[in-house]
């Protein structure tokens, strides 16, 4: 069954490129650009993976992440966070907020596909 990715990012050309490469990889891709309504959109769309930018209009990606982790429906949702700031403290901030994976811009297309695939891969049972 085709898996769904929701890309929450405000940069249109990044949205277009990510949408293209993920679609070509077999994912159903939807996009959203507004931080304020991001949580509602996640709840409505019920994606399998969220790609979330940190700097969004209206609300930061960290705040959206925290709100999603506080909700039972999205507590365990795989979330890949994209940021232009790669400092240790930013990574720690994202990890404390409950991020599944953290990626620093500029990333390669292959890295995005690999990360998204890894986030929805079934965890292998212990032997």
């Amino acid at each position: 069954m085709q898996k769904h990715v929701l890309v929450i990012e405000d940069e249109p050309n990044i949205i277009e490129a990510i949408s293209f490469i993920l679609s070509r990889d077999g994912w159903s891709v939807r996009t959203h650009s507004n931080g304020v309504t991001a949580v509602e959109t996640v709840l409505a769309r019920k994606p399998d993976v969220v790609i979330l930018d940190v700097m969004l209009p209206g609300k930061s990606g960290y705040d959206i992440l925290r709100e999603l982790r506080d909700l039972p429906e999205t507590r365990d949702l795989p979330i890949l966070m994209l940021t232009a700031r790669g400092q240790t403290k930013d990574r720690e901030l994202a990890e404390r907020a409950g991020v599944s994976h953290f990626m620093t811009k500029p990333f390669s297309n292959a890295e995005v596909i690999e990360a998204v695939r890894a986030l929805v891969a079934p965890v292998s049972d212990p032997p």
Binding site: E11, I14, E16, A17, I18, R85, K105, P106, S108, N109
Partner: protein, 432 residues
Amino acid sequence: MARDTLTGSRIRERRIIAGLRQADLARSADISASYLNLIEHNRRRIGGKLLLDIAAILDVEPSLLTEGAGATLIAALREAASDPRGKAAELDRVDEFAGRFPGWAALLAESRRRIATLERTVETLTDRMTHDPHLAASLHEMLSTVTAIRSAASILAEPGEIEPEWQHRFHRNIYEDSARLADTSRSLVNYLEAADDATSAASVPQEEVDAILEAEGHHIAVLETGAASPDEVARRLAAGSSGPARELLARALGRYAEDAALLPLAVLTEAVAQNGPDPAALMRRLGLDAALIMRRLASLPLTVLGDPVGLVICDASGTLIYRKPLADFAMPRFGAGCPIWPLYQALSRPMMLLGRHVTQPGPAQRVFATFAVAQPVGGGGLNREPLFQAHMLIVPQAGAEAVDPLPVGTTCRICSRTACEARREPSILGGT
């Protein structure tokens, strides 16, 4: 107390460091123990062959015994040792080090100063990267644009067919993003250039001004005669300095010119010849305020003054905003000085001229006459509290055995008076 009267004290100090009894040193120098005792208590002058013999026995340079090392250099070395990495430094032998190897000691002190400046540069630049919203937004936009270009370019470069429509879109995106990247880069460069060179962000403007005035001996002849305007002098002296330093210097020179107009050099020279560098006597003689007189005394050339004087000025927060250093009276390079300095007492007794003899720790134990006063600055106004600045003039005293000097320090971190009530942080030195 003049320096050369303390040779005996230094011999005693070196003898104790060397672990010699008085009798042992006297025997080695072929003099009686009682005579050595008189020398060590500065009751007999010493020089010539005997001084050379004693210096050789104590394995020190004779000049260390006759001159000691400058308190400013000692304080700078102690400051260097206050760094956690300086734990292994033999603090109890700092005077010996400075005396025996003055060149190396000065180099170490200067290196420490340079390192501290560079560390502040790094901190300032880091703060700027972290907190400057324009810089952060520009960098974020650049990285986002680069990400979009990279992503689109790699889609086009990867093997496999791409529909012409998508191909066209990604070509267009790359073109748009590269144009945006060029704009952002140009605007970022303009912003950084407008924010002045790295010096402006990195150095402490006050320190730059201190260095410029120190290089001029705190005396600006063209401002005394009115041959140049403060702005012209500031532009010339501060060429290559940061913008904030130029502004501070222009302000300081503006006040210099005003002071010089109120109390011309010729008038002050004549008054000092009669009264010496005594602000109280000069106030009475000239009918001018004490702070102005102190600033003018600090600006006098040595040809008029004979012996140099020091001056510190602080604002109401206690931060030093002007320093004219003086040999053997150490001043902190950053922040506030010793809370016991009469400078700070003056802040709590505005408009009253305070006079007090002080002495700082150290082998020289020189005594200084200080004069301190706090006076309002600015125009004031209805229901507006006046802002005060305090001045402290520091005048070296010769033959001051009769006074009871107030023991003061430089700054707590390198002050050995552990029992001091005013202490705000532990000292790296042993207590006295």
